[in-house]
Amino acid sequence: MASNEAAHVRDRVDAIYRSDSRRVLATLIRILGDFDLAEEALHDAFASAVEQWADEGIPANPRAWLISTGRFKAIDRLRKSARLESTDASALDRIAAAESASGDDDTVEDDRLRLIFTCCHPALSPDAQVALTLREVCGLTTEEVARAFLTPASTLAQRIVRAKGKIRDAGIPYEIPSRADLPARLDTVLHVIYLVFNEGYLASSGSSLTRADLSTEAIRLARLLVELMPEPEAVGLLALMLLHESRRASRTTVDGEMILLEDQDRSRWDAPQISEGVALVEQALASRRFGPYTLQAAIAAVHAEATSPGATDWAQIVGLYDVLLRVDPSPIIELNRAVAVAMRDGPEAGLALIDAILVRGDLADYHLAHSARGDLLRRVHRAEEAIVAYERALGLSVQDAERSFIRRRIGELRATSPR
């Protein structure tokens, strides 16, 4: 009986850890004013929960119990540690004075936003923002983050230590940005989330085309952000990621080789993700305060709603790219627009645009510019030029699935080429 009871408590503690440990951590960081101390306190609090809840039963509000226990454990640690000599007493006073009953829902949700904005502070390097967000907000272990980014765990641990050091020593505040700063600060957060998503979806190097866990984590993060702060661009980014993610199963062969959008089996696209994504795009567009993420999501939605490649509304896609170029001019968006123009007006029109971009030298080393050019040349039966373009792309691409796709294309072209 007793061991049964203990096992039951352990299961509950595990479940609460999964659902609430990040919330408790976010609040402890605010109360304690220190990331490392808060992490130690979090673990102390959960360790106490396993012991005490078995004897005393599970408290009515476990989260409030964990926060207040964590706070007391931190005070104990500070008192005991030799560091006390050099720690200014004001830290202890401040912690002791902090509201112990700070477990109410609004404060806790604000603390989660404080944690997100602090981890994504623009004074931290982008690498550090990503590592810290996955570690602190998502609760991934350092080893998990390192594995996902194909980085040695020691490098990643260093990066996190340095970022926490900067937060502490440079006085990065634990707060939600002011109204005036919010648009720029939100941009940084969205950028971090999209970076995590793309690392999982595009996998910039290595043998696996998708590292699904990172994409799932990014979507979870965006959901959290939308729930806490439903800004149009946050909604747009969530939509964009859901619409990309809906095609995950159909974008690679069983051997892991890439399948282009036009060749994908559309019946394998994830319908619930598409309808959720489309609804979110509409919500973001209706706000009239949308930006580049919403526009990209709108483009993805047009693709998602086409029952076949031929049924795609290319005129609408070109129109959306035009708006996107005005909002967020970039040669990569120009390239994507050129491909859409090729679909609307024919390959020659697209080729002229891509050549103009390449002549400018902007994307000369971008593998997708050369493979897009190769594809259009292939379509107008300029096989030899297509081979040259694909070979250029092959020389620039570092991703295995993409490389084997390009090699196959070159092989097909060689077979049909008169030479």
Binding site: S86, A89, S90, H121, D169, G171, I172, P173, P177
Partner: protein, 118 residues
């Protein structure tokens, strides 16, 4: 917290400005300095002579060496600084962004090591 805002700008460009433009810049600096004096964030500030007046000094094994010029040649040179009192880094960034040279050069914001209260 105290932050040192180091002002980096291209001093050659600055010297090429016509007198009225330099005047206008100095006016903006004056207004900025007044504004942070009023808000109580001003601790200290100085404009530096250009880098052609700089001397780099090293003492190694008791031997003194002096060389002409700054420690490193860069496109932007240290031209002055403000020492400010700010609530936190966000506050300091906000102040630094209003330094007139932030628009042409860049401002490095560095927290000052505070003497520990024993």
């Amino acid at each position: 917290m105290k932050y040192l805002c180091l002002i980096y700008d291209n001093e050659q460009e600055w010297q090429k400005f016509p007198a009225d433009v330099q005047q206008k810049y100095m006016g903006e600096y004056g207004a900025f300095t007044d504004s942070i004096k009023q808000s109580g964030q001003f601790v200290g500030a100085n404009q530096l002579q250009p880098t052609n007046t700089a001397t780099t000094v090293r003492a190694r094994n008791g031997k003194l060496s002096t060389t002409d010029g700054p420690y490193a040649e860069t496109k932007e040179q240290l031209g002055g600084y403000y020492l400010i009192e700010a609530k936190d880094l966000n506050d300091a960034i906000q102040v630094a962004s209003r330094i007139p040279s932030a628009r042409s050069g860049s401002i490095e914001v560095r927290p000052v090591v505070e003497a520990r209260a024993m």
